[in-house]
Symmetry: C2
Subunit: 345 residues, 2 copies
Amino acid sequence: MPVAFRDQVAEYVVNLQDSIVTRFEQLDPSAPKFNRDSWTRTEGGKGISCAFAVPNPTRPEETNTILEKAGVNVSIVHGSLPPAAVKQMRVDHATLPSDPDTQGVLPFFAAGISLIIHPRNPHAPTVHANYRYFEVSDPKEPSKTVAWWFGGGCDLTPSYLYEEDAVHFHETLKIACDKHAPGVLYPPFKKWCDEYFYIPHRKEARGVGGIFFDDLNSANHHRLPTDKDPSSRPRSQEEIFGFVKSCGDTFLASYLPILEKRANTPFTEQQRRWQLLRRGRYVEFNLVYDRGTKFGLNTPGARVESILMSLPETARWEYQSEMGTDVESEEGKLLEVVRNPKEWV
Amino acid sequence: MPVAFRDQVAEYVVNLQDSIVTRFEQLDPSAPKFNRDSWTRTEGGKGISCAFAVPNPTRPEETNTILEKAGVNVSIVHGSLPPAAVKQMRVDHATLPSDPDTQGVLPFFAAGISLIIHPRNPHAPTVHANYRYFEVSDPKEPSKTVAWWFGGGCDLTPSYLYEEDAVHFHETLKIACDKHAPGVLYPPFKKWCDEYFYIPHRKEARGVGGIFFDDLNSANHHRLPTDKDPSSRPRSQEEIFGFVKSCGDTFLASYLPILEKRANTPFTEQQRRWQLLRRGRYVEFNLVYDRGTKFGLNTPGARVESILMSLPETARWEYQSEMGTDVESEEGKLLEVVRNPKEWV
């Protein structure tokens, strides 16, 4: 019997999680291992949270690790979507049955991987990635899928700008996109990323971007622009999964070379201070704007510790900080690029 | 010519700000002075932001001040309320003219003081207070006030629980309330404070509470409970202002003795770590739930630096921190009281 599609996705995210966590552990063999924490959800499903932190952060001898705080989470859950969620989702997914047919409740399945890596060195950037699959079934015929989509993305947040790092990161993601529709997928998903990871009250992007997409399926042509694609046609579920796998599989290649290059750069207390100020911005974005975080915090019974794993170990706020006000300074150069997102490839 | 009511309120908050800032400066004469920063609002009005921070927080010799970060802000602004704001306010203020009369725009005036004090010592609690007056005029007859109200409150957020401090703080506030309607104002405003400064996703209060009130005027009897008040009657604008002044005037008496008692308590690195974890909770409340912060961040042209002055200098997040899990520990005792708010007087 062939493996059900949803189980293929679940298997993929679990394996990707393991390979990523293992690779980070190999990178810094003297550091503590990730804490691997399996959990089950009362309403249906399970997950694995892999968290990195040093046991006692107040001991200086423990804080010479490459990573400062990291989380690599997988969740594979199922259950019933409440009417409010169905109504919201119908905006993008016309194939979802309307309320009278379903008494407002729809069976769903969701599998995803979400990760965030905050290195200790101010010259090494923070990275975030998230790939997820969502499926809704017919309430009368649970084996029949009435809607499905993929979402995800990957973005880089440096405290200090190394242009070649931003170029490497974007190039790697563009290559993954180009495998599936040369020249077509990267530009809109890069733009979507710049728009999504934006802090309106600061008029700043969170970082130097990457790619972002949502509601990706065979029907959502407006999400998968094919006008410039010579082989323009609806993509199958397997093909779209193939694209998402390319993105997930390229994560280590997009980020690890940057981390290895920057993790041992000498730095000053002032540079650490700037890093913590930038982490304050990260907190502002995640708590005020990030849809995933807001949705999670508003979900009764949600696992708050996993949702807030994205927050940095330490963040800082100063009133009218003078850091970055000199446009010629290294801090000022970072501000310039988050205020005016640019094309890296 | 008598001084207009709005100008009396404006004068009061400016004087209160000066007396509070001056007193904190006297308390720690070797510390830098507050940075007094006057600003004007293009759309109408002005303000004074008084901020405390050490110039270079990475130098250990500069970080022996009693305060770590503080802001005492006054704003006195006027202009036109957009239709969306008028619609929202009409819920609580039936005397506001309806849209057809005003083309949806109403002249307003607002004056307020807002302060937050984050001391450095983990045994000294953070305090927040805010008192504000709002007035709406007839668009055809600007000298005619069609609605007005006061709002405000004061609350205490310790990292370590000293019961006598919480008792002193609440007792002082209760005395200020009792001056104006003995036994009547403190209980509902204490309850309102517990309800407002609550972090649903943590199932924790932000701290040990205080008082909170809003939309207080002569008409809003449900906001000024008079059922137990022997002299039950609508209070005049002057009387309600008198109550608000009592609250504002008692701020230093409610907080300074606590700060003086705790500011030099010896502390460990672990206690500092716990303080920063609790500051993480403070950030979560302010960015995710606080109505003032959300309103401010969503207001085009708002002064972000003043709005986010409430954030601590440093905050910390750990995944499943073990700190506080032992209910017998000092950290556990604080958690117990924020999970189960109690009556202090």
